[in-house]
């Protein structure tokens, strides 16, 4: 198994050769991947907003944003600048501390979860042993922020929106966790790196999507519900609740909700790509191609190609899923709140349990194919 590029090791070795102590070199390395991840997450918002606007326009036979930048690519920047210059209003009867804290609590867990998203063998901020479990735990913190902002707005629509968001998030977390558990069972590890490793070697045929045909559907539905995307955007259903928990927010506090929801969408797509679509693996395994062509996997240029291909593959898969989510948003009608809860508790939960049981049985029966 090729080790691939290890930027951290190379960076630390370089600094040590320059005469710095190892501890200082490690400390200098630490902020680099975090900053890079924050920047790429911010850029991903721009890309996703542009995609959303363009695809929705195409779905409705419009042109969409066109004047801000080439093909309207700077539209999201224009939106952001507009939000920055808006007056930051706290309603007179609102609870100002909770009102300010709410959006921050919604956004922080989402950015925190980017910690475990790998783009290659060593292209991850940190390879935690609990990996994917951290994402599940972090995504369960978000409803507290939503309840907080809903309650503190002192507005019945906000409160209803916040309560709906919390109910929805709790309901769909369980099928989500159960479908992830089936993957974890096959990979024998919670670490995202190990989950991708287990799918590698056979190209597109080795991906988990073939082994978990039910699991990936459950995961996708539950992930959309967790992101509060249409058809599951009940908490902000504008016909019923004005804008749900966002009703009283303006300026950058509203912007934080906006940022949080789009980063959450990209994050869910990335996690889907890691769990079911082989993460950084190409549809045709690069290792296999290299061994056919007789290139050793320690050749530097091959490692660079593999690493950059890995990043491209992960991002490509994630954005294909974002495309699917956007298309779903503009073509599917919204469900009612009772339908939403019925779907979660009476359909997805039993199916997810059966899927878990089947996976366990198949793992015992066919250990070679299901990661015995």
């Amino acid at each position: 198994m090729s080790q691939g590029i290890d930027l951290q090791d190379s960076f630390i070795q370089l600094l040590v050769q320059l005469g710095l102590p190892t501890g200082l070199a490690k400390a200098l390395w630490l902020p680099l991947p975090m900053t890079l991840m924050l920047i790429s997450a911010t850029v991903s918002i721009f890309v996703t907003v542009w995609l959303e606007r363009k695809i929705s326009a195409a779905a409705q036979q419009r042109i969409g944003p066109e004047y801000a930048g080439p093909l309207g690519t700077l539209q999201a920047a224009a939106d952001g600048v507009k939000l920055l210059f808006k007056e930051d209003i706290v309603p007179a009867q609102a609870d100002s501390i909770l009102f300010t804290l709410g959006p921050a609590i919604v956004v922080i867990p989402v950015f925190f979860s980017l910690l475990i998203v790998p783009f290659g063998q060593h292209m991850v901020i940190t390879d935690l042993g609990i990996g994917i479990f951290l994402w599940i735990a972090m995504s369960s913190v978000t409803p507290i922020g939503l309840l907080m902002s809903g309650y503190s707005s002192n507005n019945k629509y906000s409160l209803l929106g916040g309560l709906r968001a919390a109910a929805q998030s709790i309901s769909y977390e369980i099928p989500l966790a159960l479908s992830v558990l089936a993957i974890v069972m096959m990979s024998n590890s919670l670490s995202t790196i190990d989950i991708v490793q287990q799918q590698s070697g056979y190209g597109i045929l080795g991906w988990n999507i073939w082994r978990q045909p039910v699991g990936f559907l459950i995961f996708w539905i539950a992930a959309l519900a967790e992101c509060e995307r249409l058809p599951f955007d009940l908490p902000e259903a504008e016909e019923e609740l004005v804008a749900g928990y966002q009703t009283e927010y303006t300026g950058m506090k509203f912007g934080l909700f906006y940022v949080g929801s789009y980063v959450n969408l990209v994050l869910s797509a990335l996690i889907f790509a890691i769990l079911y679509l082989g993460g950084w693996e190409s549809p045709i395994s690069v290792d296999w191609l290299a061994s056919i062509l007789g290139i050793s996997d320690t050749v530097p240029w091959l490692q660079v190609v593999t690493a950059s291909l890995g990043i491209m593959m992960t991002v490509l898969k994630a954005y294909l899923l974002v495309f699917l989510a956007v298309l779903l948003r503009w073509t599917v009608p919204r469900v009612r709140i009772d339908q939403l809860l019925d779907l979660g508790w009476k359909f997805l939960l039993p199916i997810a349990l059966v899927n878990l049981l089947l996976t366990a049985g198949l793992k015992i029966a066919f250990p070679f194919a299901f990661g015995g």
Partner: protein, 201 residues
């Protein structure tokens, strides 16, 4: 002191201060919603302490179960109850508060002497770190199987109880006139007694 030790010390101080501060807030604030949100802060700080103790899995489970489920449900409960009641000012309420304070300080003193007086047998084994998940699983299915199963039975009982409490098939047609005495009971149509014999009509 290396960098890692320094970071550990500073984060321990921060987490401890945060935990004590939020816990005091939970107890002392009169606004129940603030208390509920601060409770989340207490749970998060405990998760941070677990992280410092190399127990990443326990920390994540703490966040998932206590912050993500328990605390959200507490908030949910608070926000769904719309019973308004003005509290009467009780004369000499400070006696009760002083007594509570005295009991708490006494308990704290007792626990402190216990912690300082006990010769703790500290384990010298290296922490397993990321292998903890496997070890926890092995323990849950061998020597801790009975507590694990009992906990699941307890949860099942709670689940059944919640369903029975929440399932109200008898909603009255006309609203029942509100009375002060049964303000906490939900409206329910009086249930017909099950007749002993079989009726033919």
């Amino acid at each position: 002191m290396t960098l890692a030790e320094g970071v550990q010390l500073v984060s321990f101080g921060l987490l401890a201060a945060m935990m004590i501060g939020t816990a005091l807030g939970v107890v002392l604030l009169s606004n129940i919603v603030y208390s509920a949100f601060l409770l989340g802060g207490v749970f998060i700080s405990i998760a941070g302490l677990y992280l410092l103790l190399n127990a990443g899995f326990v920390a994540a489970a703490q966040v998932l179960v206590y912050v993500g489920a328990v605390n959200v449900l507490i908030l949910f409960g608070i926000m769904l109850v719309n019973k308004q009641e003005d509290f009467k000012v009780i004369p000499r309420a400070w006696i009760g508060k002083a007594a509570t304070g005295a009991v708490c300080v006494g308990l704290f003193a007792l626990l402190t002497t216990m912690v300082l007086g006990t010769p703790w047998a500290l384990s010298s084994a290296t922490p397993v770190g990321d292998g903890a998940t496997v070890l926890i699983g092995i323990h849950l299915f061998s020597d801790f199987l009975l507590p694990f199963e009992l906990a699941s039975v307890l949860l099942l009982m709670a689940l059944v109880g919640a369903i029975i409490l929440a399932r109200r098939e008898y909603i009255p047609d006309e609203p029942v006139e509100a009375s002060v005495s049964d303000a906490l009971t939900l409206p329910e149509r009086p249930r017909d007694l099950v007749s002993a014999g079989k009726s033919d009509n």
